[in-house]
């Protein structure tokens, strides 16, 4: 390392020091970023963790980025019970879809806004428990519990986000980690949540004259498809751009007139609502819920799905979630090895491919990407 440094004294030194303690340096983080990466790359703020390098568009990537591609996937998902209607297939597909919804919700928090939430399963638990307790103890229909779930998830988001979003982003990570534990232990200790046994006998949405599990599957498919669409559109809108800006450089975003606290709050609460709604689906699908389903491991797996797929990239996160959800079905009996590999994979991904397997592309069409992004060329042509 040290020999490396003497050979190329400028670059490694600059990058090493600027990032080690950004607040020790007088200049803003934005100036540091310009220092480190060169202004052409910083100008592409929103290109995320991926370096903003224009690349060739292969036919495959043109196909999968076509707007109809998502529609085809949804159609395939809806058609699944006609292709293979075994109870096992339907069950693991429903699980995978619920996991997709969780990953897409966490993607809003981590991928879009860059806030590390390590207790996302807490909102999942809040949703599942609110719905479960209301349906079993008070006999409500599942549909009627949804407003309560949303309210409960928002309250949870306010409780945790309120104090911590004003602080450094690191604090949020560890506070959410603690919050995940608080929710799980509370559910384990309280009487009305059924203690360690949890809640069981949760009714479903109704079978509409179909096989019960297939009816649930279709409802889940529709809800998850809408959730994926909603999160993708949120990410593209005004708020979505604000989120990406805050992720890239909070100080610069604030200087540009973005109320960073509000924007972060919006991301966190939106993520909480997604998690809560996924919890309702989970409760209905499982019919029984208990505290161990909502441990840190689960939160970490959702995070893994987001990171693997590509933070901030909706199609990537969907793919990542499907991979993470279906992998245990293929690798039964080697649980601990699987988690070990996940841990190593997280490190390796962050070092070598932080943008994930299906990175988010800046909102440019392939035709625009091919054009040279340098301004100097234009200047020479005009006079």
């Amino acid at each position: 390392m040290s020999t490396d440094r003497t050979n190329r004294p400028e670059q490694p030194n600059a990058s090493a020091t600027n990032r080690t303690a950004p607040d020790a340096v007088d200049a803003s983080a934005f100036v540091n970023a310009v220092d480190n990466r060169g202004d052409t790359k910083v100008a592409l703020a929103g290109s995320g963790l991926a370096p903003g390098k224009p690349r060739k568009v292969s036919p495959v990537s043109r196909l999968i980025s076509h707007p109809w591609f998502g529609l085809v996937i949804v159609a395939l998902a809806v058609a699944l019970p006609f292709i293979d209607s075994r109870a096992y297939t339907i069950r693991i597909s429903t699980d995978a879809l619920i996991f997709v919804m969780l990953a897409v919700g966490l993607n809003i928090v981590v991928g879009y806004c860059g806030l590390l939430d390590l207790g996302y399963a807490a909102f999942f638990a809040i949703g599942a428990y609110t719905s479960g307790v209301l349906t079993t103890t008070f006999g409500w229909p599942v549909i009627a519990t949804i407003p309560c779930v949303v309210v409960a998830a928002v309250i949870g988001g306010l409780l945790i986000g309120g104090p911590t979003l004003r602080l450094r982003s690191d604090y949020l990570a560890i506070v959410t980690l603690g919050f995940g534990e608080i929710v799980r232990i509370t559910a384990n200790n309280l009487e009305f949540t059924g203690g360690p046994n949890g809640v069981f006998g949760i009714p479903d949405f109704g079978d509409f004259g179909l096989r019960a599990d297939i009816a649930t599957y279709w409802i889940v498919t529709v809800v998850v498809a809408l959730a994926v669409l909603a999160s993708a559109r949120l990410g593209r809108g005004r708020l979505g751009r604000a989120w990406r800006f805050v992720r890239e450089d909070e100080d610069a975003a604030e200087a540009m007139g973005i109320h960073t606290y509000k924007v972060k709050f919006a991301a966190y609460v939106t993520g909480a609502i997604f998690g809560g709604l996924a919890g309702v689906l989970f409760a209905v699908h499982q019919t029984a819920i208990s505290p161990p389903s909502f441990n840190f491991l689960y939160s970490a797996l959702i995070l893994m799905a987001v990171v693997l797929g590509g933070m901030g990239s909706t199609p990537g996160v969907v793919v990542g979630a499907v991979i993470i959800a279906l992998l245990p079905e293929l690798l039964r009996g080697v649980e601990n090895w699987r988690y070990f590999v996940f841990g190593v994979l997280l490190i390796v991904l962050m070092i070598f491919r932080p943008q994930g397997i299906w990175p988010h592309r800046v909102g440019e069409t392939p035709a625009k990407v091919r054009r040279k992004p340098m301004r100097e060329d234009d200047v020479e042509v005009v006079p």
Binding site: M1, S2, A16, T17, N18, R19, T20, A21, P22, D23, A24, V25, D26, A27, S28, A29, N36, L49, V110, G114, L116, L159, I160, G162, P163, T164, R166, L167, R168, S169, D170, Y171, I174, V175, L177, G178, F179, E181, I182, I185, N189, E250, D251, F296, A300, L303, M311, N336, W337, Y339, F340, F342, G343, V344, L346, I347, L349, M350, I351, P354
Partner: protein
């Protein structure tokens, strides 16, 4: 509430607090220097317990069933070197390549490292809890009616000795001065000819060694270890570091003692099943009211 019970609660709190303190120091040191939340730090504590376990199993024939405190100290020192080296490797392999990466990447890497260490141990030692091959004596004495075992007293003394030692290293030695300098301005340190990378490595070594010492002691005291034991204590140590003011070493110890006492009283009041909820709830409350901690200065990202 009578006075003896109160004193007993205080002693319990101090004892638990000394464990938290040893782990919180490593957290705080690393955070102070490179502003990294080392999620894997709690797992280094777990690795300390497991390396102590392995050493004791290997040396069981030599030692015999009942370990004296001196044997334990020797084991602890070896385990400290081992965990320190692991911390050093961790920094080199997982964190150093990301020195210039966005903060989110580094945090995720730290989570990955924590996962890898936990399940690496689960794979190699099996997921079931292990029982420490030696027990500590149960002889105790009473001071003002509160009961304290000799083992507890010895561990508290060791912890205090380690903390004082660290304080001396950081305040008196050359490399301690380098550490403090880097936490203030790493760029200037480079200009002054300090080898920043090697000082960071040294910090990881020292912090991990302290966590490893705590791991061995808790293994010997509680008798049972498992691969997830570092998760909760990592969170608690972070809470302690925040209470004291993260980045501040004396603050970390103070925060650990405060947290230990709070937990001790909270458990007496609410019951032990609420202990963790109480501690983390307190963390959230503390961040709301005084995010800089008792002795800390500034924590916001503003420049």
């Amino acid at each position: 509430m009578d006075l003896e019970y109160l004193l007993q609660l205080i002693l319990n709190g101090l004892f638990v607090g000394s464990f938290y303190g040893l782990v919180a120091l490593g957290y705080s040191m690393v955070y102070g220097i490179i502003k990294l939340l080392n999620f894997a730090h709690g797992d280094i504590y777990m690795l300390g317990a497991f390396s102590g376990y392995t050493l004791l199993t290997i040396g069981a024939g030599v030692i015999g069933g009942q370990a004296s405190i001196i044997v334990l100290v020797v084991i602890m020192l070896i385990a400290m070197v081992l965990t320190g080296t692991i911390g050093l490797i961790l920094e080199r392999v997982a964190y150093r390549p990301l020195r210039s990466a966005p903060r989110l990447s580094v945090l995720i890497t730290a989570v990955g490292a924590s996962f890898a260490l936990e399940y690496g141990i689960a794979v190699s030692f099996g997921p079931n809890p292990r029982v420490y091959p030696v027990g500590l004596g149960n002889e105790s004495f009473t001071i003002f009616g509160a009961r304290l075992t000799y083992a507890q007293l010895a561990m508290m003394l060791i912890a205090v000795a380690l903390m004082v030692g660290l304080d001396q290293i950081v305040r008196r030695t050359r490399s301690g001065r380098a550490m403090r300098a880097i936490s203030q301005d790493p760029k200037a340190c480079l200009l002054m000819g300090i080898n920043v990378d090697s000082v960071i490595s040294r910090t990881f070594f020292v912090g991990s060694a302290l966590a490893g010492a705590a791991g061995v002691m808790s293994g010997a005291y509680y008798g049972k270890i498992d691969f997830l034991m570092g998760f909760i204590i990592g969170l608690k140590a972070f809470t302690a570091a925040v209470i004291g003011g993260i980045g501040n070493l004396r603050g970390a110890v103070l925060g650990a003692i405060v947290l230990g006492l709070l937990e001790s009283f909270g458990t007496a009041w609410l019951g032990s099943e609420w202990r963790d909820v109480f501690a983390f709830g307190f963390l959230i409350l503390f961040l709301t009211v005084r995010p800089t901690g008792l002795l800390g200065e500034r924590v916001t990202e503003r420049v």
